[in-house]
Symmetry: C2
Subunit: 392 residues, 2 copies
């Protein structure tokens, strides 16, 4: 297998398409922070500042600066630093958590109802510490991480709408993100402080969320690990989320030399591809019902960019770590689908949203939920996998 053309294409995509698009369009030079709601040509269609999107931009520019592509890119570092200053000054609450949304000027606009604001703050600050070695960033990373862990038992806080009659579930998202956060903190802060939480989260993901009979990762399971097959929420699947989760686990397994864990995660990766792929039109479904019953989500059969980014990474990780050709086939399939369907022919970046047939339903390049994150992370991590494969 000659990886050279792939490496060339992914480097071009990252360095000549995706990074320049965001660097040119996302910075709010007047008020600080970033615009993430960017139309097809990069123009701003909504000026609000959504915390997940903001911190992900900080994380990504800081991570790119520390990467093999970041040498001398002080401009990337400065973007991350400026973003950090804006977000800590405007979005941080007294208890160390982050509100969900600021208005353009930086005034808090939506309360801290999402624990993932804290998660991405921790990742962004940690990446800045790795990039600079400056203690301030480490301190904030630990503060946000502490807030995230503290909030896991009641992530929505006072905004929680559930009453005692509601079936209780563990959420796959909380655990998979914690598994990844542990790895990020370890890499960026060079600490083993979160290793126990990280290992426990990985055990929870692997032991509780994969349904052995149906062979797919559930998003919600009962606290005792049993599956609720009677309700839509209990049967809810998000195939791209499961694939993302599995490369997090493989990454952890490689760091800790845990071959058994890698073997198991690769096995689940294969199962996830089988369950989540659309046999008719290609690509990976956004949401599914474990028993094929109706999805309560209107957009369930759409094809989104990010599950395909995560699938790309998962396939490459599994192929590199197991050598099994089935994962190479999955990579080639997803790569071909992604570049032919999501890549925008004009103005750069990728479309985010396709209908089941693979036609764009939106021409936006960024939004309330799409920012400078999944795509550049996919390109960067995929490049690392490919280079390792090529060097064998």
């Amino acid at each position: 297998m000659d990886w050279t053309p792939f490496i060339q294409r992914y480097e071009d995509e990252l360095l000549k398409n995706v990074i320049p698009f965001w660097q040119e369009h996302c910075i709010d030079r007047e008020c600080g922070g970033f615009f993430s709601c960017l139309d097809r040509d990069g123009s701003v269609y909504d000026p609000n500042k959504y915390m997940w999107m903001q911190w992900r931009i900080v994380y990504m520019f800081a991570t790119l600066y520390s990467s093999e592509y970041g040498k001398g890119r002080e401009d990337w570092l400065q973007i991350a630093r400026d973003g950090y200053d804006f977000l800590v000054a405007h979005g941080r609450l007294d208890d160390g958590s982050y509100c969900f949304q600021l208005n353009r000027k930086g005034e808090p606009a939506m309360g801290p109802f999402s624990i993932f604001s804290d998660c991405f703050a921790a990742m962004g600050a940690a990446a800045l510490f790795r990039a600079t070695g400056e203690e301030m960033y480490k301190h904030e990373a630990e503060s946000a991480m502490t807030s995230y862990i503290r909030r896991i038992p009641n992530p929505k806080g006072k905004y929680e709408k559930s009453l005692p009659g509601k079936e209780r579930y563990l959420s796959h998202g909380s655990y998979m993100i914690l598994a990844n956060l542990g790895c990020e903190m370890r890499d960026c802060l060079d600490t083993d402080r979160y290793d126990a939480e990280c290992r426990q989260a990985i055990n929870t993901v692997m032991d509780k969320f994969f349904h052995p009979g149906l062979r797919v990762i559930f998003e919600n399971v009962r606290p005792d690990g049993s599956f609720d097959l009677d309700s839509s929420e209990g049967r809810f699947l998000n195939p791209g989320h499961g694939l993302e989760s599995m490369w997090f686990v493989m990454r952890y397994g490689e760091t800790h030399g845990d071959r058994k864990l890698i073997r198991r995660a690769a096995d689940y990766t294969d199962a996830q591809f089988r369950f989540g792929s659309d046999p008719e039109f290609g690509g990976i479904f956004y949401f599914m019902d474990a028993l094929g019953k109706p999805s309560p989500e209107l957009q369930h059969d759409m094809k989104l960019w990010w599950p395909h980014n995560e699938a790309t990474i998962a396939a490459l990780y599994a192929y590199r770590l197991t050598g099994e050709p089935r994962f190479l086939d999955r990579f080639l399939e997803i790569d071909a689908y992604s570049f032919s369907h999501f890549r925008a022919p004009l103005y750069g970046e990728w479309f985010g949203y396709l209908n089941r047939r693979g036609e764009p339903t939106h021409l936006l390049k960024g939004g309330k939920w799409k920012t400078f994150f999944h795509l550049p992370r996919c390109l960067l991590i995929s490049l690392r996998q490919m280079k390792l494969l090529a060097s064998r």
Copy 2:
């Protein structure tokens, strides 16, 4: 124009298709209340009880009982009575508001974060009073109505996530629903107690939400009546909602002999059809952006059953009250689209969700947001319009 075949078809649809489907499948004979999550064949795919859906079933069976089709249908009345008993016993909170969701057994599962739970409780109880004359129902209708009006300034209560930095908007939904509620209370309870609120709501809808330059009804406007064209929330449109709103206004105008109001609502109805129709694949878009910028909603270009139900009523109302042929054309177009695209070929009822091309993306007949309400209401009210037209 010979209305006979239309009347025949709509009566068959209501009496031989839609009512029997729900009557057979929606009643939970074990725990009380209703199932609304019904798969294509009527089987239950989720047992949870969503308050909007529950009260709408009560409202619809009680309304049908009082209608020209309800003579001797004590079975319909009993369904509404039983539903009422279940919901008042289990879903009503001490302050007269209603929680959003019960579990199958009737235990409160999600708190009262939606004001529309109270709205549909008021409508259901009022319809039962009209059907029976029993004071208990009137009392509950007034209680729920009072709760609804009380909550309008802060509809989400303690679950409100907005902070001071958030742009404030008036919501079209709150006012249009109040306009309709006023008419329902007047019809059912024979009271003019809510006439002032109703008139004020109608004035707000007509004076503030219609953009005279773009000629379309906005969903969110600033409290001073100015339009926010800079944000997605400010530019958000829901064409079917606007059409529903306009037949509420025409209904009010007819009751009060206000020809000028009718004239204006018909004019807006025409504008709404022009703005919201899909010139390529037919039907009415679910969501739009007033300036054609990207919609933040993934499902924006889908075709949903209910906007087509509301469009049918709006077109017939406007045609009957103005006599203008353009509204007859609109009715014929929407009627043809609806019956050829939404009507399910097997097991009865209609599909709820089509992609932009008009292909079903879900085969469900009921769900968390689809119940025994928009379709039977559309058939019943359309039949009345057609019979009045036919009798000229």
